[in-house]
Each structure stands twice: as structure tokens, then as C-alpha cells.
């Protein structure tokens, strides 16, 4: 029973990682690629770590699995935010179907908007 659950979680995690790869290859611009990559890879790694913790229910494995999952869930969001900020500041081209572009114009000398 645990074996089937663990194997199923492994397959589900690998499918999500494969989905992240396909999304990164097929999405049209930087920001859509980023959401495919970060969300699917975080959930995929979470499934793999859950499968590992079910396969080896010992303290040393479970502690490492939980700490890897917590660390990835913290850092993936931060890394995605930093890359998105860099891409927006470097005026990365948007998909042609984008409806709203809320990136503000960069002002010289760091002047406040409206001054």
C-alpha cells in the first residue's frame, strides 16, 4: 500500500516537473515562462519529497525532506520575484496578446513620480 502511494507520488511529481519543462519551452514570454517554471517545479518537488517520506518513514529522512521542502517553498518565491523585477526593469518584451502593461516608465535621477 505504502509502496503504491509512494510510487504514485513519484510519478505525479515527475509529471509536474515535465509540465514545468514543457511550459518553459512553449510559453510565449518571460513572465508566463516563469509562472510555469516556479509553480510546477515547487509542487513537483513537494510530491517527490512526500513520496520519499512515505517510502522511508525514518526520522533522518523525514527531517531532511521537510527541511528541503520548506527551503524550496521559501526561496522559489523570492527567486521568481527577483527575476521578474529584473526582467521588468530591463523591459523584456511581452506576449503580443498582453492586455495591460503596468510597468512604469523609469524616471531619470530616481525622481519621485509626480515631481
Amino acid at each position: 500500500m505504502t509502496e503504491w502511494l509512494s510510487g504514485g507520488l513519484f510519478i505525479a511529481g515527475a509529471l509536474l516537473a515535465l509540465l514545468a519543462g514543457v511550459g518553459v519551452l512553449r510559453m510565449p514570454d518571460v513572465f508566463t515562462r516563469m509562472q510555469a517554471s516556479t509553480k510546477a517545479s515547487t509542487l513537483g518537488l513537494g510530491c517527490l519529497l512526500a513520496g520519499l517520506a512515505i517510502r522511508h518513514p525514518e526520522m533522518s529522512f523525514v527531517i531532511r525532506a521537510v527541511s528541503i521542502a520548506a527551503f524550496m517553498m521559501l526561496t522559489t518565491a523570492v527567486a521568481a520575484h527577483v527575476i521578474a523585477r529584473a526582467a521588468a526593469l530591463s523591459r523584456a518584451p511581452l506576449w503580443k496578446g498582453t492586455l495591460i502593461d503596468e510597468r512604469v516608465e523609469e524616471r531619470p535621477n530616481g525622481a519621485e513620480p509626480g515631481s
Partner: protein
Amino acid sequence: MLEIAAAVTLTMLALAAVLTFVRLVRGPTLPDRVIALDLIGVLIVCMLVVVAGSTAQRAFLDVAMVIALISFVGTVAYARYVERVRS
């Protein structure tokens, strides 16, 4: 059963790494390449977790944690670089 699951999982992860590598080579802008490198780091961590599960070696999990840490620092450094080189 679990050996088959581990083999299928590793095959799919390798396929995902190949697709991401195509984006890393083709990627029209620099942030695309940074995203692809970040995803390759996550895929390496995934492969190490699967190998740790199939061989029951704890050391692979320590390696996975260290690679996750270094990949995060590298991604942030690349993002700072992307901000720096914009003209």
C-alpha cells in the same frame, strides 16, 4: 514496483531537463536563460531526491539541500547582473 516507478520518474525528469536546456540555448533574452538555469537546478534536486529514495542513502538528501541553496544564491546573483547590464 518502486524500481519501475523510480526509472519512469528519472526518465521524465531527464526529458524535462532536455526541454529546459533547449530553452536555455534558444532563449531570446537573458532573463529567459536565468529562468531555464534555475529550473535545471530544481530538476537536479528532484533527481537527487528520487535517487535517495531508490538507494536509501541519506547523503543524497544532504547534497540536494546544498544544491538547492547554491542554486538560489546563483539565481539571485544572475538577477542582479541582469539589472546591472540593462542600458
